[in-house]
Symmetry: C2
Subunit: 462 residues, 2 copies
């Protein structure tokens, strides 16, 4: 085999690739919408059929939420390496739908790009991994290593279903290498392996000060306003250096080593973030560069806050309740459950007396970190360099795929993230897009990476 | 004349009173709804006709907003005292309309009470003042003093229209006494004159940190979250004693005199507010009883706060913007424009650098205070005692009628608030109500008060 083999295959099968891609994108698989449960099952069944058609044993596994698609091709034999590929077929909601230039579930090609919800995240990315298997099969050869797919239907809804059934799938999920096909390129020209992502903890705090909304004329000066209690409470999350002021928050966080700082360097300074994202006010801890704060340091954020009257004009209400949604991004060794407990204790110890406080968990997951010296990382990097012609860089992701830490533990595998996303692909936003060129590059990348893993393992044994 | 004269009159005219009352309540005069402008004008015209029918010269005066109804009966002559009566024909919105037990604009009688939007606030109250004039007229006598009415259509929408035209109406509005027919009884059994109300200043602050919403995984730790900047800013409004921490906020505020503390005493302790309003968390400044904090001390409140994702579930957004609606209740000598300036300076001096801050005024008005020794206060108190059989008390209102301070200044009149409202009449809420007994008592009160003013003034002059 060579790269040219797979390039030839994609060129010869362009319309078939596009047909499968467009069919996949037409499933309205918004996991957040309970009304679409049947559509989720239909999409899972379609994936099972697709995988069976290219030599995999595949099935849809029911969970309390949306089904999980599991598939395996173990023809390489028990001596060969096993690669587990993770992705998801569910997508984000499409609101505000009026900002889309075309129907989010009717893929539309403009200027070489395909616009649809899920075009990249993650239908585009998991599809090229599947089609890489077809490219192999159609060479008339068996796969050089064992390959398993774990394609879930609830990544955009905290992976609840997979989390529940994962424990019972330990045998199926066991692998040497775990490839997460849900990441980005550093930029258009730079191939990138993602060696970790931050974890996350999400929760909601509600303060109630009275049985019903009050009038600030009738009771202002007597009733303690829950909006006030909430801002007074949340403002204590940070110290003057921008560090999280919650006791023991950093207990498990390792200081950055010089080696780590060097490995995950970046030239992205504030000017870059100002230009790319229109950011004018910068946060983060004192003493860390923007990319270090983003990849290597934990945070606490108020993702939502709401209380009282927020419509047009003005109402002099003292609301009965005020609410905030809070999340922490976590780094390795920080346990989401422990961090949730610390945040709760912090809030309970400081809340205004008399104010009723309700705390609700919205789930989370630990950070994950892959080994830059693993065979998967090496094979993937070489393949990227072969395809894109420049040196591959290692990066970390500031975002979270909460299930990965657990999946990596249960599978026993070395984990590496890969992907062909770009910052302007509008994931989670209107007009999400991906292009057929990168879809093809994805096919070559996965096909050649498994070839390289097979060859190295073989070399190591002989 | 005697109280019995007017009691006889109301008894003899019950069905006519009810017809006028119900007709008035059927006008859908929600000033906040621009679609109802024509209805506002129709209601103003109906009031003009009603007042003309009882010997007043009346007219509807256009304003940039809803028309103002002005009427006068100056038959008492230029030597006689002049009383200006203020009220409003506009009402609050009816949302949530599903919580009403009957149509808010189809008055319905249940257990002796009339349920409708505006039943009390302020259609019921201004109507009894008007019908008191009819009671006089139908005795065949001219009024003992000059009476003017100023009935606006935008009290529930910050009185913008009246504020704009008031300066040009100085001659018309000139009076010796100004009676605000828009207040409450202290409780069911206790007649009450209201000798003042707090002023108010309302504004909105919006912080913008980036050009669009950001993802807290992609940018958390780099971008400064506007929700964070907002809670950090607003939490600085109060010091540890619950005083407003804005420099110069209290500069014009006079300390309470022992005489004032004695005049405006109350037995309403925290237990009362807990029982009546379900309040569990108490605010207010250290060193003041609840009713003192409510009537005699200024406040700052966050009436609304909003930023990021506040729907079901969780979204890890860093919003581009966060907003709060802020109001101050003011005491005498505090100028709303000056207080607005102080709050703005406070916010501008403390906002996180880079965060764009927009400040928007939502209007306001100064506190007003009446003289407890004025002839109007004395005549009104005596009348109340005559009707209800117990000593009248003087009170202050924690709420605000922003226009009154200016109206009092322009009219040059001594101001007193009166009314028959009770805390459970559900003003501004679903199922607003008033009863025909209190409506009749209102007629007697206004009719006998003007008789007393006339008699005293006559005695003083002869």
């Amino acid at each position: 085999m060579s790269l040219a083999t797979f390039q030839h295959w994609t060129r010869a099968h362009q319309s078939q690739i596009r047909n499968d891609y467009f069919r996949f994108l037409r499933f309205r698989t918004i996991s957040a919408d309970p009304a679409l449960r049947l559509e989720m099952a239909r999409c899972a069944d379609w994936l099972v059929e697709l995988l069976e058609g290219i030599g995999f044993t595949a099935r849809s596994i029911d969970t309390p939420g949306c089904p999980l698609v599991y598939a395996e091709n173990l023809e390489a034999g028990s001596e060969a390496a096993t690669l587990l590929i993770y992705g998801h077929y569910d997508v984000q909601p499409v609101d505000p739908v009026e900002l889309w230039n075309s129907d989010p579930f009717e893929p539309t090609e403009r200027d070489g790009k395909v616009y649809a919800r899920g075009a990249l995240d993650d239908k585009g990315q998991i599809l090229y991994a599947i089609l890489a298997m077809r490219a192999w099969k159609e060479q008339g050869l068996k796969l050089p290593i064992n390959v398993k797919f774990c394609i879930e239907g609830e990544e955009e809804s905290s992976s609840a279903g997979l989390a529940q059934v994962m424990g019972s799938l330990e045998e199926l999920l066991r692998a040497d290498y775990l490839m997460i096909a849900d990441f980005d390129l550093f930029d258009k020209k730079t191939p990138t392996v993602t060696l970790g992502a931050r974890g996350i903890m999400t929760m909601e705090v509600t303060l109630t000060g009275s049985a019903s909304d009050l009038h600030s004329g009738m009771l202002g000066g007597v009733a303690y306003n829950p909006n006030r209690a909430l801002v007074e409470l949340l403002a204590q999350f940070w110290d003057a250096d921008g560090r999280v002021a919650i006791p023991h928050f950093y207990d498990e966080v390792e200081e950055l080593s010089e080696a780590e700082r060097a490995r995950y360097s970046s030239t992205q300074d504030r000017e870059f973030f100002r230009r790319e994202f229109g950011i004018e006010a910068f946060g983060g801890e004192k003493g860390y560069k923007p990319h270090e704060a983003l990849w290597l340091r934990p945070t606490i954020e108020i993702n939502g806050i709401s209380g009282g009257y927020n419509g047009a004009g003005f109402k002099t209400v003292i609301p009965a309740k005020a609410t905030a949604k809070i999340s922490c991004r976590l780094v390795p060794n920080q346990d989401p459950a422990r961090i949730e407990q610390l945040v709760k204790e912090f809030l309970l110890a400081r809340v205004k007396p008399g104010m009723k406080m309700e705390l609700r968990s919205h789930g989370g997951g630990a950070a994950f970190r892959g080994d830059p010296r693993s065979l998967l990382a090496a094979a993937l990097s070489e393949t990227y360099e072969e395809i894109m012609g420049v040196a591959c860089r290692a990066t970390l992701a500031g975002g979270s795929i909460p299930i990965i830490a657990d999946l990596s533990r249960i599978s026993g595998a070395q984990v590496v993230g890969m992907g062909y996303g770009l910052p302007d692909d509008n994931i989670h936003a209107p007009n999400e897009r991906f292009d057929l060129v990168r879809l093809e590059q994805g096919i070559w990348t996965v096909a050649r990476t498994i070839e390289r893993i097979g060859a190295r393992r073989h070399a190591a044994k002989s």
